[in-house]
Symmetry: C2
């Protein structure tokens, strides 16, 4: 079933879920696609169409029950459970990722960290201890790690990805500036701030371009 759903749609769902959580905190009980769309800068039709891939969750003439819809979305996305993360590379970036306080409240727990540098192995970062990368594949499998995070230099990233996949990981979040090759069935997302900055300079360089491109504004996100 969960098939045929455009990837863009899946990427918007967490945004919907998060915004519903905020509305819930604000005490809003029922919301229309219109109101939700205003907050998210997404058209109401887009929201309704996206939701229609999964079922009917609203009441005509009224809107959606915020708590209910949020629960539905969290269920669809699998956010009701905790997911375990392993970070490979505990340099500045890796340490910042491990120390980042935004993952845990959302159910993402960094449970292991790795590095090749003997000087870093054994180091404590928050509640985890850096292990030697030679253990990576085995530990991932033993601890049933769900998602791998790559925070190593570009030159090492592909090898790390391969080892993660050998360790049974099916989702990788990479901060390395390279295009990774992975087999079918493995999801990779890359976060690359330099690339983001470099595409924005295009519009800074020729400000008319920025104006022209912003007609019909859309939510842009990675």
């Amino acid at each position: 079933m969960a098939n045929q759903i455009p990837e863009v749609v899946v990427q918007r769902l967490p945004l919907y879920a998060r915004t519903l959580a905020r509305f819930l905190e604000e005490g809003v009980e029922v919301i229309s696609s219109q109101e939700l769309g205003v907050r998210l800068q997404v058209t109401p039709a887009q929201i309704r169409k996206d939701l229609s891939y999964f079922g009917k969750f609203g009441k005509q003439g009224r809107g959606y029950n915020v708590a209910h819809l949020q629960g539905v979305l969290r269920g669809i996305l699998g956010l009701e459970r905790t997911w375990s993360l392993a970070v490979v590379g505990v340099g500045h970036l890796g340490q910042a990722i491990i120390a980042y306080g935004g993952f845990a409240p959302e159910g993402f727990q960094v449970v292991a960290a790795f590095d090749t540098d003997p000087a870093r192995v054994g180091q404590h970062i928050g509640s985890v201890v850096a292990q030697d990368s030679s253990e990576l594949s085995q530990v991932l499998r033993e601890q049933k790690i769900d998602i791998g995070i790559i925070a190593v230099p570009a030159s090492a990233a592909q090898a790390v990805a391969d080892t993660m996949i050998a360790g049974g990981v099916h989702a990788i979040l990479s901060y390395a500036p390279v295009t990774l090759r992975v087999p079918e069935g493995v999801k990779v997302r890359t976060i690359d701030p330099v690339l983001v900055l470099q595409s924005m300079t295009f519009y800074l360089k020729s400000p008319e371009a920025a104006l022209l491109s912003s007609g019909r504004r859309r939510g842009r996100r990675l």
Copy 2:
């Protein structure tokens, strides 16, 4: 002129530029859209079409001169000059951004940092000193800052964005988990790792979905 160009195309250009730089280091002098596409996991037709928005840079029957095309792309993107950044929020995240070594080599210099917390104002992070946020708008204008980076909590992000814009900034890279509202002509990009993780769990939850969605693989990036 620089108009009418799809935003996706602009987002791919830095990727092309970077990859050409790597080929250059490897001593490759001429490259076909085919070869470039293999490395990037992008179709050759895509590359040629993208480039065609800007001109004709290849030689039929031969390919593209790597050094030349790289220069052209850097020119189009405005990467030949240095761009100044200001980071607002010098908590863990802001500090990591300032300390990150990947910006400077690409011509992005963090020249100012701000925070509202008196305990943080005056603190040195790398070569910059955290200033009080009340100075933000004025300093941005005086120092002609090009790009603002938001590293404050969600609740403060919109206000920071507004102040940045008041300070004359036309591009914002935000790490805050909110959809920012900005006037026409201002570019905003959000980097939101939690959202990325939350959309990957959808595929982990139902692995068939991952397989089904990966037919016709494309380069995915923010």
